[in-house]
Assembly symmetry: C2
Homo-oligomer: 120 residues x 2
DNA sequence: GCAGATTATTTCGTAGGCGTATTAAATTCT
DNA sequence: AGAATTTAATACGCCTACGAAATAATCTGC
């Protein structure tokens, strides 16, 4: 229960962040991914591994093909990698990458920075 | 210069918001619009009117067809309306709607709510 | 009044995402 | 071992969005 902000501040923050991402001043690269892709990416980098397609789909409340395709996109940008689970070879383990970690870190910094500049 | 949060908190906040939107527990309806559409929507509701296609495109750093199409989508959801500018009939004035105002308000409340629940 | 500029939209061909159903591989159950 | 389950990926037809270029309407400057 720690961060208090007004609805106006919340919207301003969201808008500022979205604007920077669209303008491609945020983390470099893809200015127009969807909320789903963002959610998949952040799940992988914020939640404790291991991450399977099944698990991510369940967490997001979407079908598995949606996750597979999101991973295709994120993989093409080298923000995540896939590896077969050697213990249960049906599973795919989704792994973080250096590039992805950097991307997420920059995204976090962007939000922090925009929050700092909010009017009261 | 008022809101201070850590990178971890920032990412958690972003992730929580994205997750709720994806799960469609956010503002009712459309779970998967893009950053661009979000940015167009928030520009219209947070910046001072009047809003033209040209102005929005310049602000976002995208081409005008992108804005026209985003307005088509948002218009189909009744989140914005378009009206011809009677003073200079080349211009289109983008206007807010009751439904859009409600949507944006709920989105703000969602962010506030998620921020409240952040660990320190 | 007319040439040129400006605004928004439409068109065109391309790329990517969607949901549902199906497939392929691997594991579990009996 | 063989049937049923589970996992991820793929196929399919549809829809939406993209960028670049063309179009239609309107305004400005001379």
């Amino acid at each position: 229960m720690s961060i208090v902000l007004s609805p106006q501040q919340a919207l301003r923050l969201l808008s500022d962040v979205a604007l920077d991402v669209v303008r491609d001043k945020g983390p470099q690269g893809h200015p127009d991914f969807t909320m789903r892709q963002l959610s998949v990416l952040l799940t992988i980098y914020l939640e404790r591994p291991p991450h399977t397609v099944r698990g991510i789909a369940a967490r997001l409340g979407v079908t598995k093909p949606v996750v597979t395709r999101a991973l295709d996109s994120l993989g093409a940008l080298e923000l995540v990698t896939r590896r077969r689970d050697e213990v249960d070879r049906r599973n795919v383990i989704v792994q973080r990458t250096v590039k992805g970690a950097l991307f997420v870190e920059q995204l976090g910094d962007l939000v922090v920075d925009k929050a700092k500049g909010l009017a009261p």
